[in-house]
Symmetry: C2
Subunit: 246 residues, 2 copies
Amino acid sequence: MSVPQFQSIQCADCPIRHRAVCARCDSGELEALDAIKYYRSYEAGQPVIWSGDTMNFVGSVVSGIATLTQTMEDGRTQMVGLLLPSDFVGRPGRDGAAYNVIATTDVVMCCFRKKPFEDLMAKTPHIAHRLLEMTLDELDAAREWMLVLGRKTAREKIASLLAIIARRDASLSTDAVTGAVSFDLKLTREAMADYLGLTLETVSRQISALKKAGVIVLEGKRHVTVPDMRRLIEEAGDDSDGGVFV
Amino acid sequence: MSVPQFQSIQCADCPIRHRAVCARCDSGELEALDAIKYYRSYEAGQPVIWSGDTMNFVGSVVSGIATLTQTMEDGRTQMVGLLLPSDFVGRPGRDGAAYNVIATTDVVMCCFRKKPFEDLMAKTPHIAHRLLEMTLDELDAAREWMLVLGRKTAREKIASLLAIIARRDASLSTDAVTGAVSFDLKLTREAMADYLGLTLETVSRQISALKKAGVIVLEGKRHVTVPDMRRLIEEAGDDSDGGVFV
DNA sequence: TGTGAGCTTTGACACAGATCAACCAGAGGC
DNA sequence: GCCTCTGGTTGATCTGTGTCAAAGCTCACA
């Protein structure tokens, strides 16, 4: 694997600092974090960790996409979180993983072994506060998603998912003239279905419907252009279009 | 209002400490917390706070039940959390409330004004760590609930809800001989529907079905006896019957 | 004792989304 | 060129849950 020197979450440069552990790059703990970090990479489809396994590290996604999922005995699965670059994985103070973490694309993670990270956390309140903040963000996102899962129609669910990805995905580009947003959809229809509590057939049908209605434009099956974000957000039925997922 | 002297979450006696802020009752911060606490009471049906309002306190539920809900413009609502005695409300470091908090029964809360609480938190790492722990618990619960909302059938949803309440509700009593568990259901059918992403009619039908199947026994409409918890958990389709909601 | 309000139950019917099945498109591999 | 594999689309049909409507409890209060 090649170690990425630029787009990392370590403290020295924090290019995506708004979600990184070390947002407050102004004290000595940054070098300490820097000193204990290491990188791991995973191929698309590979598990990062299984629910219940002991997890001896925490870390952030540097590049790629991973998913958090829960599964019932009979195979029904629900995605409970989507990890984009700069998102944090791991639960300081807990030993077991609570969910399956699967790399959906090739993924590079910046990791810290648990013990030294927790030691550092005990010494530096900044980090503990930052973790609390990130966990509260995740909680907000999870609860926002409960509304999506519990009360939205299939069409609204798809629009909600596209709106989230459009807001967060780094591969996104915006047309300066028209304001149109476009991005690569890095999830299969099945992964989207698992996120939305639908079947992949329904996902496919609703994407076709949004395309036919002109809310989105597709090039191939995976590249999406949104001519008018407001239109998409309207389809999502979103009052809160707030910043919860930002 | 009468100030409850016994069942409170303040640090002096911590009767329900496993979820309270100050679980580690071994240092001076406890008196400090004790010194700034005050009590508030709310009548059944009364709002504690509306989403978006600024919230100048944090606190724990001492008695009664409150709900966290999100609402769409057209009135569809989803409950995103259930607050039972000892649960914590409020987001240190955030100003606005993210959800509507409504008292479902009469509720007494033990509150701390935000500013002094945050000051205390800055000084005492215990409290910050405890809050992180509690937030991680809530996150786990929210994600577990995402599986319920996204993938379970109506019948499984009802069974899951009853199982959670049976595990957490303080009003619960267990028959020493048969092992049967019984408790008062303090939610209306409509509140259950909002929690489960169903309609109240479906909730009513599925409760009737579980009753007919002998999984539960009803006295009146609100008192539930579960002759065999394993049977209920089986109906919930729960692999994880873990401790997430405990 | 009657009346009304709030909550719950039950029935009949409609429909969104699941299920089952067939087919399509692109990317290797040979 | 052909084969095969994976992921995606579309159609036909089924079904679980929503919707609409009526009626039953239970309790408070006149």
